[in-house]
C-alpha cells in the first residue's frame, strides 16, 4: 500500500503547486510573514501531509471498492474530494463543486448528517467508515466527537424553559415602559437616581457639564433574542445558560453627529438605565438585576438578570443561578454612516477630551478603531444574527462546528470578554460564517458548505494559525471601504459587507496566544501517534501554572493608577506593559500574556464596578530555556547615536558602555547570574517595572516560577553531569587503549540514569554513591563456551584480566571485581567497579550475545523442570533489560535531555516526587523517565515545556489522568517519528494481549513502551502492584487538585509532603548510617583538610556502591515476599513503610504459609487458626535492621 500512496502524494504536490501559481492557497499566506512562522507552518504542513496521505489511502480504498462494484474505475481516480480541499487550500473546493453532480459525492453531506446525529445503534458499513476516515481524523476521533456533541448540544430543559418564561415577561415589560425626556444630562441623571435609585452607567470620562444635547427614552424599535442561544450553538457544558436580548433603541433618539465623542454611548447609558429602572420596578423582587460591561467593554454597559431565589425555596438554588439574561441596547444599522466609523477614522475629537486628557493633544486626529468598532458592533447586532441564521440553514455542520469551536476556546480560557482574549463563541461563530461566505482568493469562500464539522474546525484553526492577521488583514467580501490604520499589531478580519472588524476586541498578546493555541492544536491533530481528542476538547489548559513557565503578579491599581482618566484606555496601560516587557525580555521569552482582572457586575445604585477584591494583574511568560538566564545583553554600538540613546532611555542606569574582545564597543546590560539569588529573569522584570511603572509597582511584583527548580539539590541543567560524562569518556579511552586484551572491543555503552542526566544526585567527592552501570561488548569470537554457567565464568576471567591491565596502566583509578546474583548461576556473576579519583565511579559488565540464544533455548526446553525454566525466563528478561534495553534507553534519554533543557531537571524532580511518596522501590527509574519524556514529546495540548515547573506539573497532570488499566504508555523517544505505525500497532497488540492474559493485573500493571523497547513490560514486570499504581494515580490527582485550587499560591514543597499515617507500620532508619552525607561528615570530623590526605583515605573508594538502605529493602522484600508490601523512600527519605497484605488474614492453619504465625485454637471448634504474628515480625525486622532502624512506628495501635 505504501508504494501507491507515495506516488499519489507526489502527484498531489505538483497539482497543488500549479494551483498556487494560479490563485494562491493557504500555504501562500505565510509567505511574507516572519521567518519562524514559516518554519512553524512548514511543520504543520508536514503533519498535514502525513494525514493527507492517510486520508487518501482511505479514499483510494473507496475508489477501489467502487471499482469492484460498478466497474468504472476512472470516476474519482484523481482522488480529489472535499476533504483534500482542506489541506491544499480552499481553491480545491472548485473541484468539489464540479464534482457535485456525481451522486456519490452529493450524498456526502447527508451521510455526514446522519453520522453527526450519532445513531449509535445502526450497523457500521464499510462505505460509511471510509467516509469517516476521510472527513474526520480517524474513526475513533469521529466517534468521540459525536459522543461529545451529544453531550454539549443544547436542549430544552427546565432551566431553558424557565429562562424563556422570564424572557417573555421582560419583553412585555420593556415594550410598555413609558417614555422619558428629553432632559438635560444632569436632570436626567438626577431624576433616575432619586426616583428609581438607578445610577446612570456613563462610561469614563463622564459627559461634559456643558453638553448641549439631551437624553431621552422612548419605546424600543424592537426587542429580539440574539446570540448563541437563538442559534442553538450554546454548549450545554456551560454552567449558565446565557440569553442575549437586544433592545433596538429608536433612531429618533439620535442625532447625526452622535457617533462623535462618546455621545452615542452616553445616550445608550441613559437608555439602559431607564430600562433598568423600569425592570426594577416591575421585576425587582423576582430578578437580581445588575449592570455589567458587555464583554468587558467599558463603553457598553448592559443589564444582566438572574433569578432571585425566593427565600422559602433556598434549597432549590440549583435552578436559580443557572440562567442569565443579558439586555443589550443597540441601534439600527442605518443610524450612523458606515464610512465615518472606519478603522482609520477618529471619532473622539480632542475638544471634548482636551480639557480632561492633556496627552491627547499631540495626537489629535489619531484613529480610534476600538471606539469605532465598539459603536459599529452595536449597529450590526441584527445584521449578524441574520447572517448566522442564513449560514445555519445552508451549512449542515455549522452548528456542530460552532459547538466544537466554542468548546475548544473554552478549554483554552478564551472568551468574548476583553480580559479573557476578546475571542469567544460570538467571534468564532461570526468568523466561520464569514469564511463560508468569502475570504478566499478571488472572493471565493474559504470554507466549503459541504465540510464536516471537524473540517470546518480545522480549517478555521488553520486560518488562525497560518496567517498573521495583524500583518495581513483578512478582508471578506469586496475590498472596498477598507483602510487599515491599526498600529500593526491588532488583528483584523474585515467584514466588508457590514464594514466591521470582527477581532476589534483582541489585544496583540491575546491574538498571539490564540495563534499559538491554534498552531499547537494543528500539530497535535497531525500527530499520528496521538489520539488528540482529549487534548483538544476535554482537557482544560488555562491553568497558568501548567501553561506558563513564569507568572508575574502585579498590583493592578498601582499600574492603572498611573493613567486612570479614560477608562477604556486602561487597555493602553496594559499595552505599555506588554511593549515594555516585550522589548526588555526580547528572545528570552516566547510568549507574554497579560491577564487583567475581570470586571464584575455592579448593582444598579452604584456608579461603576468596584474592583476591590481582585486587583491582581497577571502576566504569564513562556520562556526560551536556552536564553532565559543569559547574563549579558548586547545593545547597539556606540556609533549608532539615536539607537543607543533610546536604549539608554529604556534601560536607565542599567545600561553600560562596554568594550569587547573583538574591539566592538556596545551598550551592554549585565545581570548577576549568581545562584541562590533572584534569577536573571526576575531581575529584568523587576528592573523594567520599577523603571517604567515606578518603584511602587516593583514592590508589589511577585514572580512565580523558580521555586520548583530550587527544590533540586543541584542545578537543574545538564551541566551538573559534565564531570561524570567526561569521566565516562575517559573510561572509554582508558579501556580502548589497553594492550593485551584477548578480544577487541566492539562497544562500551552507558546504561545508567547517571549517564543520561536523570539521576537525582550525581557523583561528587566524598559522597557515598552508586557506580554508574556500563556495558562492554567484545567483538564476536567462536571460542566462547556454549554453556551459560561457563560463559559467566569466562566473563569473570575477562574482568580479572581487565582489572589487572587497568591497575597497571592507570594510576588515577581503582578497579575491583565484585560478585552478584549468587542465587542464579546462569546470569551475570561478576562486575568490575572502576572508581576514579575524581569521584566518578562505574560498574562494568560484559555483554555476550550468545547468552540470549542459550537462554531462549533453555526456556523452550521441555525436558527441563519448571523451576529451571522460570530461572531462564528471569535470566532472559534480565539479559534483555541490562544489555539491550537499558543502553538504548540511556542513549535516547540522554539525547532528549540535551535537546530539551528543562527535561533533566524535570526527571530529577519527578523522581524526587516518587521517592518522597515512598514509591521509589516500585516504579522503575526508566518508567518515570518515559513519563517525563512523554510530556516533552507529546506535550499536547501544550507545547514542549521549557522549565522544570511546567514539565513537572504537566507530568503530574497527565499521571492523574492516565488510565493505566486501559492505556499503554507509548513514547517515541526519537522525537522524529522513528516509531512506525506498524510498531505502534504491535505495541498495542502486546498490551491488549497482556490485559487479556492477566485481566486482574496481577503481573503487569503499568505498560510502558518506547521506540527502543517495544515489549512494554521491561521495567514493569511484576511491579508496581495494582494497589501501588492506584496510589500513584491518587497522589497525582491530589497534587493536581491542589495545583488548580491554589494556583500560584501553591507551595511546591507541599506536593512532596506525604503523610505516613496511611501505612500499617513505619520503620524510621538512622539517617546517619543510610544517608549519603555520612562520609563527608566523618571526614570533616577527623579534620581531614588536605586533598591528598583525603585521597589516601581508603574508605572513599571502597565505599563506592555501598548502600545499606537499598540492601535492607531488598532483604525485607525477599524475606516477607507477598505478606508485606514495603514502600521505600530511598534515597529521599530514610523511611521504609509497610502494609500487611490482605492475604495474611487469619485462616485455617497450614504448613506452608509464607509468614510467621501464631497458632490460635478456636474455643468453639477443634480447628486451629493461623494468625499473622505482627508483633513477632516487627521484632524480627528490628533484629534484622539492628542499628539501622531507630524506631518502629506501629500505626495499628
Amino acid at each position: 500500500m505504501a508504494e501507491p500512496v507515495h506516488k499519489r502524494r507526489k502527484v498531489k504536490h505538483v497539482s497543488s503547486d500549479e494551483e498556487e501559481g494560479e490563485s494562491g492557497s493557504f500555504a501562500s499566506f505565510g509567505d511574507s510573514a516572519d521567518e519562524d512562522e514559516e518554519i512553524e507552518s512548514g511543520r504543520n504542513n508536514d503533519g498535514l501531509n502525513g494525514e493527507l496521505s492517510r486520508q487518501e489511502e482511505g479514499k483510494e480504498e473507496l475508489n477501489n471498492a467502487e471499482m469492484d462494484v460498478e466497474v468504472k474505475g476512472d470516476v474519482h481516480s484523481d482522488g480529489t474530494t472535499s476533504d483534500s480541499a482542506e489541506e491544499d487550500g480552499q481553491t480545491l473546493h472548485e473541484d468539489v463543486q464540479i464534482k457535485r453532480p456525481s451522486p456519490k459525492i452529493t450524498n456526502t453531506p447527508s451521510v455526514l448528517r446522519n453520522d453527526a446525529r450519532g445513531d449509535a445503534t445502526s450497523k457500521p458499513d464499510p462505505i460509511r467508515s471510509t467516509y469517516t476516515a476521510n472527513t474526520f481524523r480517524s474513526n475513533m476521533f469521529k466517534l468521540q466527537v459525536d459522543e461529545l456533541l451529544e453531550q454539549i448540544r443544547p436542549r430544552q430543559s427546565k432551566r431553558e424553559i424557565e429562562a424563556e418564561h422570564a424572557l417573555q415577561r421582560l419583553k412585555k415589560t420593556i415594550e410598555t415602559l413609558p417614555s422619558r425626556g428629553p432632559l438635560p444630562i444632569e436632570n436626567a441623571e438626577r431624576q433616575l437616581l432619586t426616583s428609581n435609585r438607578v445610577a446612570t452607567p456613563f462610561p469614563n470620562p463622564r459627559p461634559p457639564k456643558d453638553a448641549k444635547y439631551k437624553l431621552a427614552y422612548a419605546k424600543p424599535a424592537s426587542v429580539n433574542v440574539i446570540g448563541s442561544h437563538a442559534l442553538k450553538t450554546a454548549s450545554r457544558a456551560n454552567k449558565v445558560v446565557e440569553i442575549d436580548m437586544v433592545v433596538i433603541m429608536p433612531s429618533s433618539l439620535f442625532q447625526e453627529k452622535d457617533y462623535l465623542n462618546s455621545r452615542y454611548f452616553y445616550k445608550r447609558a441613559y437608555y439602559i438605565a431607564c430600562v433598568a429602572a423600569g425592570l426594577k420596578e416591575a421585576h425587582g423582587t423576582e430578578l437580581d438585576i445588575k449592570f455589567n460591561n458587555f464583554h468587558d467593554n467599558p463603553l457598553k454597559p448592559v443589564l444582566t438578570m438572574n433569578a432571585l431565589s425566593p427565600p422559602e425555596e433556598k434549597s432549590a438554588h440549583s435552578t436559580s443561578s443557572k440562567w442569565q439574561i443579558n439586555i443589550i441596547p443597540s441601534i439600527a444599522e442605518d443610524v450612523f454612516p458606515e464610512d465615518k466609523l472606519g478603522l482609520e477614522r477618529n471619532c473622539v475629537r480632542d475638544q471634548g477630551l482636551g480639557a480632561i486628557d492633556g496627552t491627547a493633544e499631540g495626537q489629535a486626529q489619531s484613529p480610534t478603531p476600538f471606539y469605532n468598532s465598539s459603536l459599529r458592533s452595536d449597529m450590526l447586532m441584527t445584521s449578524y444574527l441574520k447572517l448566522l441564521h442564513g449560514v445555519t440553514k445552508s451549512c449542515e455542520a455549522f452548528r456542530d462546528a460552532c459547538l466544537l469551536g466554542s468548546t475548544w476556546l473554552r478549554q483554552r480560557g478564551f472568551d468574548s470578554d476583553i480580559h479573557s482574549g476578546g475571542f469567544g463563541n460570538t467571534e468564532w461563530t461570526a468568523l466561520m460564517a464569514l469564511l463560508l461566505q468569502g475570504g478566499g482568493p478571488g472572493g471565493r469562500s474559504m470554507l466549503n458548505q459541504g465540510y464536516s464539522s471537524y473540517q470546518l474546525l480545522k480549517a478555521t484553526l488553520q486560518l488562525l494559525a497560518v496567517r498573521d492577521l495583524s500583518k495581513q488583514p483578512l478582508v471578506v467580501g469586496a475590498d472596498m471601504g477598507f483602510a487599515n490604520s491599526t498600529s500593526g499589531d491588532t488583528p483584523v478580519v474585515w467584514d466588508s459587507a457590514r464594514g466591521h472588524n470582527l477581532l476589534y476586541k483582541m489585544t496583540p498578546w491575546s491574538y498571539r496566544a490564540l495563534r499559538q493555541e491554534a498552531k499547537t492544536t494543528l500539530s497535535m491533530l497531525g500527530d499520528q501517534h496521538f489520539d488528540g481528542f482529549e487534548a483538544t476538547f476535554i482537557v482544560r489548559t488555562d491553568n497558568l501554572l501548567y501553561k506558563y513557565d513564569y507568572v508575574v503578579k502585579l498590583d493592578h491599581a498601582s499600574i492603572a493608577g498611573t493613567k486612570p482618566k479614560r477608562e477604556h484606555q486602561a487597555l493602553e496601560v496594559h499595552r505599555k506593559l506588554y511593549d515594555t516587557l516585550h522589548r526588555g525580555l526580547k528572545d528570552r521569552v516566547t510568549q507574554i500574556h497579560i491577564l487583567p482582572p475581570s470586571s464584575d457586575s455592579w448593582s444598579l445604585g452604584s456608579a461603576g464596578p468596584s474592583n476591590a477584591n481582585n486587583t491582581e494583574l497577571l502576566v504569564g511568560f513562556a520562556v526560551n530555556p536556552d536564553t532565559v538566564n543569559r547574563t549579558i545583553d548586547h545593545g547597539p554600538t556606540a556609533e549608532e547615536k539615536s539607537k543607543s540613546a533610546s536604549f539608554r532611555k529604556f534601560w536607565g542606569g542599567k545600561a553600560e558602555l562596554r568594550r569587547f574582545k573583538d574591539g566592538s564597543i556596545l551598550e551592554t546590560l549585565v545581570w548577576s547570574g549568581k545562584e541562590g539569588g533572584q534569577s536573571v529573569f526576575e531581575q529584568i522584570v523587576r528592573h523594567l517595572t520599577s523603571r517604567h511603572f515606578g518603584d511602587e509597582v516593583e514592590k508589589g511584583t511577585h514572580v512565580v516560577g523558580d521555586a520548583y527548580k530550587k527544590m533540586l539539590p543541584q542545578d537543574s541543567g545538564i551541566t551538573t553531569f559534565t564531570p561524570l560524562m567526561e569521566a565516562f569518556k575517559q573510561l572509554e579511552t582508558d579501556i580502548r587503549s589497553l594492550n593485551g586484551l584477548p578480544l577487541s572491543i566492539r562497544q562500551i555503552s552507558p546504561a545508567d540514569a547517571q549517564l543520561r542526566y536523570a539521576s537525582p544526585t550525581t557523583a561528587a567527592r566524598g559522597r557515598r554513591q552508586m557506580p554508574a552501570d556500563v556495558v562492554l561488548q567484545f567483538e564476536g569470537s567462536a571460542r566462547w563456551p556454549d554453556d551459560l554457567v561457563t560463559i559467566q565464568r569466562t566473563k569473570t576471567a575477562f574482568l580479572i584480566k581487565l582489572q589487572e591491565l587497568l591497575q597497571e596502566s592507570i594510576d588515577s583509578a581503582i578497579a575491583r571485581i565484585g560478585l552478584e546474583n549468587q542465587e542464579h548461576d546462569i546470569v551475570n556473576q561478576a562486575f568490575l567497579d572502576i572508581a576514579y579519583d575524581s569521584g566518578a565511579a562505574f560498574r562494568l559488565r560484559i555483554h555476550h550475545d550468545r547468552e540470549q540464544t542459550l537462554l531462549e533455548r533453555r526456556l523452550k526446553d521441555k525436558a527441563l523442570d519448571p523451576r529451571s525454566r522460570d530461572i531462564a525466563a528471569i535470566g532472559l528478561a534480565k539479559y534483555k533489560r541490562d544489555y539491550v534495553k537499558t543502553p538504548a534507553h540511556t542513549q535516547a534519554i540522554a539525547r532528549l535531555c540535551s535537546r530539551h533543557p528543562g527535561m533533566s531537571g524535570t526527571i530529577r524532580l519527578t523522581k524526587k516526587w516518587f521517592a518522597s511518596h515512598l514509591l521509589s522501590n516500585h516504579i522503575a527509574d526508566e518508567i518515570i523517565e518515559l513519563m517525563v519524556a512523554r510530556t516533552s514529546i507529546q506535550p499536547w495540548p501544550w507545547q514542549t515545556p521549557s522549565s522544570v515547573q511546567t514539565g513537572f506539573l504537566r507530568t503530574l497532570a497527565w499521571l492523574a489522568r492516565w488510565d493505566w488499566r486501559a492505556e499503554p504508555l507509548v513514547v517515541d523517544l526519537s522525537g522524529s517519528s522513528e516509531l512506525k505505525q506498524a510498531e505502534l500497532q504491535s505495541i498495542t497488540t502486546k498490551f491488549e494481549a497482556w490485559r487479556k492474559l492477566d485481566p486482574a493485573l496481577n503481573r503487569v500493571v503499568l505498560f510502558a513502551a518506547s521506540n527502543v523497547d517495544t515489549d512494554g513490560t521491561t521495567w514493569s514486570d511484576g511491579r508496581p502492584a495494582k494497589v501501588v499504581a492506584g496510589r500513584m494515580s491518587a497522589l497525582a490527582k491530589a497534587a493536581c487538585t491542589e495545583a488548580s485550587e491554589k494556583q500560584f499560591s501553591l507551595d511546591p514543597a507541599s506536593l512532596f509532603a506525604s503523610p505516613l499515617g496511611d501505612f500499617d507500620f513505619v520503620l524510621h532508619l538512622d539517617p546517619e548510617l543510610v544517608g549519603k552525607s555520612s562520609q563527608r561528615k566523618r571526614s570533616s570530623k577527623n579534620g581531614v583538610v588536605f586533598k591528598n590526605l583525603e585521597l589516601a583515605d581508603e574508605e572513599d573508594s571502597s565505599s563506592v556502591g555501598f548502600d545499606p538502605f537499598g540492601e535492607l529493602v531488598s532483604d525485607l522484600e525477599r524475606l516477607y515476599g507477598s505478606a508485606i508490601l514495603f514502600f521505600s523512600g530511598h534515597p529521599e527519605r530514610p523511611i521504609i513503610a509497610g502494609l500487611w497484605s490482605p492475604q495474611t488474614a487469619t485462616r485455617a492453619w497450614k504448613l506452608n504459609l509464607s509468614y510467621s504465625t501464631t497458632p490460635l485454637k478456636r474455643t468453639d471448634a477443634e480447628q486451629v487458626d493461623a494468625k499473622i504474628n505482627k508483633d513477632g515480625i516487627l521484632a524480627e525486622i528490628a533484629h534484622l535492621g539492628r542499628d539501622l532502624i531507630q524506631r518502629i512506628e506501629d500505626n495499628e495501635k
Binding site: 475513533m140 459522543e147 453531550q151 500487611w1140 510467621s1156 474455643t1163 504474628n1173 521484632a1179 534484622l1184
Partner: protein, 326 residues
C-alpha cells in the same frame, strides 16, 4: 495535602476482620508449637513471642538419616545453626545437633539438596551447572559474599541430631515445653558468637563481595579446567557412541561428526532466507487476483478497524462515564 488520605479498600480489609475468641494452641496437626521469647530492642521495645512448629521429619522418600531428624516450620528469619544448638542444648533436653539444613540456603552457585516438603512444591531442585560424573564435590565455587544468611519468613528447616535417641528426647521435651509454656529465650548467648546483623552485616557483605582477584582467578581456573575435562569426556563419549553400535546393534547419531551438523539456529536462519527469496521471486501484486484479494482484505480491515474503534469507545464510556469537557 489533606486529600491524601488514600487507602485501598483491598488493603484495609485485613484490619477489619473480627476476631473470634481464641487462645494459643500448643498442638497443630502433628506439629508442636513451641513459644520462643525474643528480647526487646530499642527500636521495638517490647518482648515478643515467636512460634516454632516442630515434628519428626517424614519426607516422602526417607533416607537412613530420617529417624534422627526433626522438621521445623516457621523458622525465625535470623536463625542460624548456633541458635538451634542453643535452643536444644539449653532448653530442650540438652541434646546435641549434628547439622541444620535450612530450606533456602544457597551453597556456592546452586542450592543444596532441598528439604523435602509435604507438598513438595517449594523444593528448589535444579540441575547443577557442572555434573561431574564421578564425584558430587562442587568445584570452582565462587567465594561466599554474605557473612550470615537470613531466611524467609515462615520457612522450614531440618535439624539432624547425633542419634535417634536425641531426636526423640528433643521432641518429647518440645512437647513438654509447649504444654508448660516454658520460657525459651531466642538467641541468648548466641549473638556474640555469630556475625552481627544490621549495618555490620551489610558492611561485611560489601567487603566480601569484592574478593581477592587471585582467589577469584583460581576459582575460575578450577572451574574452567573441570569444564574442559567434562567437555573432553563428553566428546570422547560421543565419538564412541558414533563409532560403536550399542547392545541392540544401533549406532547413535550424534553431534560433532566429521563435518559436524550446523547449529540449529543457523539452519533456521538459512531456511528463513530461502523463504524470503522464494517470496520475492513473484511480487505480490503481479497477478490480478492478488491485487483484488489484497484490496478485499484491506476493505475488511477497515470495517474491522471501525468496529474495533466503536468497541473501544464503548469501553471507554463504561470506564469513564460521559465525555464532557472539564
Amino acid at each position: 495535602m489533606r486529600s491524601l488520605q488514600i487507602r485501598t479498600r483491598q488493603y484495609q480489609s485485613s484490619r477489619m476482620v473480627p476476631m473470634p475468641k481464641s487462645k494459643v494452641a500448643t498442638q497443630v496437626q502433628d506439629f508442636t508449637a513451641i513459644p520462643l521469647r525474643r528480647p526487646a530492642l530499642p527500636a521495638h521495645p517490647k518482648e515478643t513471642t515467636h512460634y516454632l512448629y516442630i515434628r519428626a521429619n517424614a519426607p516422602k522418600v526417607p533416607t537412613e538419616d530420617t529417624p534422627r531428624e526433626l522438621f521445623i516450620v516457621n523458622v525465625p528469619i535470623d536463625a542460624t545453626e548456633h541458635h538451634f544448638r542453643s535452643v536444644f542444648a539449653d532448653h530442650l533436653g540438652g541434646v546435641r545437633i549434628e547439622s541444620v539444613d535450612f530450606e533456602d540456603t544457597w551453597v556456592g552457585k546452586g542450592i543444596k539438596a532441598p528439604v523435602v516438603h509435604a507438598d513438595g512444591s517449594r523444593g528448589k531442585k535444579r540441575k547443577r551447572g557442572v555434573e561431574d560424573g564421578k564425584t558430587d564435590q562442587e568445584v570452582g565455587v565462587l567465594p561466599e559474599t554474605w557473612g550470615r544468611e537470613v531466611h524467609r519468613s515462615g520457612g522450614t528447616a531440618v535439624v539432624k541430631f547425633i542419634d535417634q535417641a536425641s531426636a526423640a528426647i528433643a521432641l518429647r521435651e518440645a512437647r513438654r515445653a509447649a504444654k508448660n509454656s516454658k520460657e525459651i529465650m531466642w538467641g541468648t548467648g548466641v549473638e556474640s558468637k555469630i556475625p552481627a546483623l544490621g549495618y555490620a552485616r551489610y558492611k561485611a557483605h560489601h567487603k566480601l563481595r569484592y574478593p581477592d582477584p587471585a582467589i577469584l582467578q583460581s576459582s575460575v581456573d578450577t572451574f574452567m579446567e573441570a569444564f574442559a575435562a567434562q567437555e573432553a569426556d563428553r566428546t570422547k563419549q560421543l565419538t564412541r557412541q558414533r563409532s560403536e553400535p550399542d547392545e541392540e546393534g544401533f549406532v547413535t547419531v550424534t553431534r560433532g561428526g566429521r563435518t559436524g551438523p550446523a547449529r540449529e539456529e543457523e539452519a533456521r536462519a538459512q531456511e528463513e532466507e530461502f523463504k524470503k527469496r522464494e517470496k520475492s521471486r513473484v511480487k505480490d501484486d503481479f497477478y490480478r487476483f492478488q491485487v483484488r484479494e489484497k484490496r478485499k482484505e484491506h476493505a475488511q480491515d477497515l470495517v474491522k478497524g471501525f468496529e474495533e474503534d466503536r468497541r473501544r469507545l464503548e469501553e471507554m464510556r463504561k470506564r469513564r462515564g460521559k465525555l464532557r469537557p472539564q
